[in-house]
């Protein structure tokens, strides 16, 4: 059990780093895992193509929130290109715990939200249609 809920995971969950609002944010993105109720929003301030500052807000399970907290620590100061290059394996490596298939979405919500912000997306590309329809703007 303790292999999954290691001290540093619980520490990031209970004492999240970089949580809150970001003044002067240039890029923001919010997403959720409706099945589990995980919610996450990420705000970046990009200066000279670098992440000058980052904040996240969210609620959800320990895995989704710790994953976001760890990620925000890592990307501060990185170039946008470096942020865009972060992949799934990198996130899982960062977490350093075995993640079961049922929980993988929890672990990767932070990455999805970060990518949305880094690329300046209004909505996730393959979900755009669904979101538009949900908003009642049927074409």
């Amino acid at each position: 059990m303790d292999d999954m809920y290691r001290d540093y995971i619980l520490d990031h969950y209970k004492n999240p780093r970089n949580q809150g609002e970001l003044s002067g944010a240039t890029n923001t993105y919010a997403d959720s895992n409706p099945l589990c109720g995980d919610e996450l929003s990420m705000a970046l301030r990009i200066e000279d193509d670098r992440v000058a500052d980052v904040r996240f807000n969210g609620k959800g399970c320990a895995i989704s929130q710790a994953s976001a907290s760890i990620l925000t620590e890592e990307i501060k100061g990185k170039t946008l290109d470096e942020v865009k290059a972060i992949d799934k394996d990198h996130i899982l490596e960062n977490l350093g715990i075995p993640i079961s298939p049922a929980r993988i979405k929890c672990a990767l919500l932070s990455l999805k939200t970060l990518k949305g912000a880094a690329w300046g997306l209004p909505a996730w590309p393959d979900e755009e249609d669904t979101k538009t329809r949900a908003a009642g703007q049927r074409r």
């Binding site: 059990m1 999954m4 809920y5 099945l35 589990c36 109720g37 609620k59 959800g60 320990a62 895995i63």
Partner: protein, 421 residues
């Protein structure tokens, strides 16, 4: 949290649970080195040897497509399939076997009614009454129908204990409604609605009533003739039968007036290029090759449940709730949602542990061999009403024990230790 368990109504289990458990091969398995404690029966139930054998017998002894062949295998399988229909009809108190339409599950049952009766009868401006207790399967089909035809959805709330607001329902029925689509028993909280009274009230107001009995038929005696509803749907997989089995019940007269749902083989009597005549009931609504082996499994499941006695199963589950609720109340940091008394409820207990997300709870429980559901339980409207994103839900069936309640309580302690809360 105050939990009142009336001493006078203390439920007493009369089931021989050890003997019942021996019929369920899966219950002797271990998970992560611990004996499996299966408490996710509201999602699906486990299957007894008798159901597995009945289905294997079809494949091993006489499998052939039903209603078609004129050879022995087909005739034997057809007889088993129609025999299962008769068993299901008796089990729910139907007066005529033809009132039972086999479908894959309750969801397909609601869609069948929405696409046939609904599209013929619900028009622009009509009101459909629903409740926040509905599973998505008994809400989304009506929401979409309402959108398509311009009807209005009216929602009935619950009180803080998860009991339906009868005052609200009465007031809305008085304003008129074409349909009341209501759950018999909440899969999220275990609340049992007084369906018989509600049906009478709805009928007096001129509304047709569909009852979602997916959580009721497996756990409490349900008699459609006594309830006097217009439609009743349920799934087989929650009542010891395989997934892919389930039924819609409605009276012959109503079913005869309804157009078919799906078109194709077996639901026709005569096809020409110009037109098609429909088959007789119930086959008018059973297009294509039915999941006949699953239906035969459902027949074996109702045999099993009938032999044990559904009223006894209900009493057994209540005895487990009576054991668990006060102990949960004494557990620091645990909030229970739904009815806090034993009246009008089934063996579903929804709760949260402060400071731990339900998904983390379920993950830690899993390491202890305890299977529970964590999430919104296809009850997002109810979760919104309760002000939570998700809950952890334990749900009982005839094979669960107080020792398993203890395992659940132990797993709660373990979760609190891991999270240091």
């Amino acid at each position: 949290m105050a939990v009142t368990v009336k001493a006078t109504s203390q439920p007493r289990s009369t089931l021989d649970v050890a003997r019942i458990r021996a019929d369920f091969p899966i219950l002797s398995r271990t998970v992560n080195g611990k004996p499996v404690v299966y408490l996710d029966n509201a999602a699906t139930s486990q299957k007894p040897r008798q159901v597995i054998d009945a289905m294997s017998a079809v494949f091993e002894e006489h499998n052939a497509n039903i209603h078609r062949g004129v050879y022995e295998f087909s005739e034997t399988t057809t007889a088993a399939f129609e025999g299962a229909r008769a068993k299901v009809a008796r089990f729910i108190g139907a007066r005529d076997d033809r009132e039972v339409i086999f479908v894959r599950n309750a969801t397909e049952g609601v869609n069948l009614v929405a696409y046939t009766w609904g599209r013929e009868n619900i028009r622009s401006g009509d009101r459909i009454i629903s409740t926040v207790l509905e599973h998505h399967s008994d809400f989304v089909p009506w929401q979409q129908l309402a959108k398509d035809v311009g009807a209005e959805i009216v929602m009935i709330d619950v009180d803080d204990d998860g009991r339906l607001r009868r005052d609200q329902l009465s007031a809305e029925l008085k304003k008129g409604a074409k349909l009341l689509a209501i759950t018999h028993t909440s899969n999220g909280l275990g609340t049992v609605n007084p369906v018989k009274e509600i049906v009478a009230e709805a009928h007096a107001a001129g509304a047709t009533v569909l009852v979602d009995a997916a959580q009721a038929v497996p756990h409490t005696p349900v008699d459609v003739t006594d309830l006097d509803c217009d439609f009743l749907v349920f799934s087989g997989h929650k009542m010891l039968a395989p997934p892919g089995s389930g039924a819609v019940w409605a009276r012959i007269k109503l079913l005869e007036r309804m157009p078919p749902f799906l078109f194709g083989g077996d639901m026709i009597s005569r096809v020409t290029v110009e037109k098609t005549e429909w088959n007789e009931l119930p086959w008018k609504f059973e297009a294509g090759t039915s999941s006949y082996v699953d239906a035969i499994g459902l027949g074996a499941a109702v045999d099993y449940l009938g032999a044990v006695g559904v009223a006894k199963i209900h009493e057994h589950e209540l005895s487990l709730v009576a054991y668990l609720l006060p102990r949960l109340a004494e557990t620091e940091g645990v909030t229970v949602y739904g009815p806090k008394t034993l009246e009008d409820r089934v063996g579903v207990v929804s709760f949260n542990i402060e400071g731990i997300h339900p998904h983390d709870v379920a993950t830690i429980f899993d390491r202890e061999g305890v299977c529970v559901r964590a999430g919104h339980h296809c009850n997002q409207l109810l979760m919104t009403r309760l002000g939570v994103a998700a809950t952890t839900r334990a749900s009982f069936y005839l094979y669960n024990t107080t020792a398993e309640c203890d395992a659940l309580l132990g797993a709660i302690d373990k979760a609190k230790k891991v999270f240091k809360v």
